[in-house]
Symmetry: C2
């Protein structure tokens, strides 16, 4: 049995005054204090853009040293946008092995202190460089292509997809760590500039700086009732290019990964009380709901249209603001998601509290090329 | 029990005609054929410089896709120069957890197709950027400082350290995958240009392109006698900067990591039949021999001077050419080391065969900030 016993966040923002290691250390210390632990046996870092944006790799040793843990086991796990979730997966397996009893998973990203063009380049390195990025394709343009095809195929309107952004903004208001704590309405979205047609800037999550950490421990090391259990854990990949997929509107990685996680947890979609999904783009939210069994194919957007994704809805998503309004510090985001599920299951989510005992988090790397799913349950 | 049942290499060279994914796929296919396996459940990639040199991250999904394994679990592990060894550690823990039965660990690096200055920058990202690299310090200059101090403190001569390079070159002659299959003598080294005084270019390993893979499996999935067991596995970190260490001549990470690996394996240094150490610089070989208990403090270089590191010596090191002559494709190197230990324990090392049943590999990230140790034993 692997348990999560603490979490910590830095506020998501443009932290031009804080370095990568400072952001990381802030959330690690918060998580350890939250878990009432002084020092973990191991540190698993989720990060994507240290090398390109900060000129810094080897974050395991760097952050362990900066936190005063020099000596412990530490390294970085990278799976593009899903890096944080993949780091959690690694820590889960490490503790399940019996060789490690306590670990911190720290997702961290310091992205904004560069020119916007360079940031677009850095975030695109999760797509295929030789065949896509070198031709000028960016993450946003790939999801815009998918969104256009989805709208034509299934009759979804921009207003429908926009409901995902509205929900995330509504939920972020009460989250002190969110970057945008302000509600928006559909007019805001429809009148906002296009990022890449048909996705407006309000359909896209903001790239920003932040760090989240969680503390994991083995059954042997568990000394508290304030804990949640990891009952499902899975990583699945898909092709790098959407051009080589039979059906670009079907998130095969998300489907495979969720199916394996459900099987491990002995749960079905209807058992999941809340779903922290990866609304990097509004279209991705619709597709994930379908891939993970919460809606039929081509009907994911109807859950938003029919108001079933709110805190009191049929399947609450992005309960603390999601990537759209809490913010999307790329490699750190997966840990924010898992930390928020933990917060909810510990009934510490304040105004946004969802009443449930089982929650799921899923992160998506690149254009659906990696999906990492975790299911957590209250003890 | 975790077993290694196959290995594969690409020849180390300047592969300007091959991309990162092609190099990786070559060694993965060779390792799978060697292990008589078609497809693993998971792929763990060790790589450091994909982002900076090739503009490509998300190598787990990319390489899995290119090999035709799209769908499996896959991600990248990074710990600077020790990335390949850290990826092996992750795979070991994953299989030990019982959740994964078969895995490939692929170390891959495509470094040389850039300007030399940029390569120096890319390889320095394992050191502290804010406090060291931004001031112009490189990996080589750090180890030159250490070497100068070591020589003054312990009376080692350039000729003594040079013996490590001579040994590696001698062993590389019979290795078809090595970049430099040519013996050198002490005159070659002493007359060669300085890389950074007192380290000549022959004291430094060449940064190059290459990929090595190994296949791991659980006891349940083991269907052959042609296997070696992983009996020790450990990662330890130290401070990022040598300036903050009490004793810059003591590799604390290597000491911690080897001690934990010995304890897990229930072995002592004298039980180790061969040691694939990390001779990125000749000075590092001397220090690792001391840190891992093969020589007293300040006496590691004497093992080289007294000819005790050769194939028939007291502690054979770098038996297939080491980093110096087999080559050092940074993030891939740790997997070359472990694959070579496997090759030796399976008695498939040809002219360089060492007679022993237990071998050790240790990789060093940055200026000794990470050390990853594995001990393998013949079945």
């Amino acid at each position: 049995m692997v348990a999560v016993i603490g979490y910590g966040f830095t506020r998501i923002s443009e932290h031009w005054d804080k370095s990568l290691r400072e952001l990381a250390c802030e959330s690690i210390q918060a998580a350890l204090m939250n878990a009432n632990m002084e020092k973990p046996e191991a540190l698993f870092v989720g990060n994507m853009s240290g090398a390109t944006v900060s000129g810094q790799q080897h974050l395991g040793a760097l952050i362990a040293d900066w936190c005063g843990f020099s000596g412990i086991e530490a390294y970085t796990i990278e799976a593009a946008d899903a890096s944080g979730a993949a780091a959690f997966r690694s820590a889960f397996l490490a503790i399940a092995s019996g060789f490690i009893d306590t670990a911190v998973v720290c997702g961290v990203e310091q992205m904004t202190d560069v020119l916007p063009d360079y940031m677009t380049f850095a975030t695109s390195l999760g797509s295929d460089y030789d065949y896509e990025v070198s031709c000028g394709i960016t993450q946003t343009s790939l999801f815009a292509l998918i969104a256009r095809m989805y709208m034509q195929e299934f009759g979804a309107m921009r207003e429908d997809l926009g409901m995902f952004a509205i929900n995330s903004h509504r939920n972020a208001v009460a989250n002190p760590f969110a970057i945008y704590r302000k509600e928006i309405n559909i007019d805001t979205l429809l009148k906002s500039p296009m990022a890449c047609d048909p996705l407006s800037v309000f359909d896209c999550s903001p790239v920003c700086d932040g760090s989240a950490s969680v503390v994991l421990c083995s059954e042997k090391a568990l000394k508290t009732n304030r804990a949640v259990r990891v009952i499902g854990s899975s990583v699945a990949t898909d092709t790098m290019m959407i051009a080589t997929r039979k059906d670009p509107l079907y998130l095969k990685s998300a489907n495979d990964s969720s199916k394996r996680a459900y099987a491990m947890a002995k749960k079905k979609p209807e058992d999941i009380g809340l779903f922290e999904l990866f609304d990097a783009y509004t279209i991705l939210a619709a597709m994930q709901l379908e891939a993970c069994g919460f809606a039929n194919r081509g009907e994911g957007y109807l859950l938003a249209r029919n108001n079933e994704i709110g805190i009191r809805g049929k399947i609450p998503i992005c309960t603390m603001g999601g990537l759209k309004a809490r913010g999307n510090p790329i490699g750190a985001t997966g840990v924010y998601q898992i930390a928020e599920v933990t917060q909810q299951l510990l009934e510490e989510a304040g105004k946004n509290q969802v009443t449930c005992t089982t929650g799921m988090a899923q992160s998506i790397g690149g254009p659906g090329s990696t999906a990492v799913t975790h299911i957590l349950e209250a003890v």
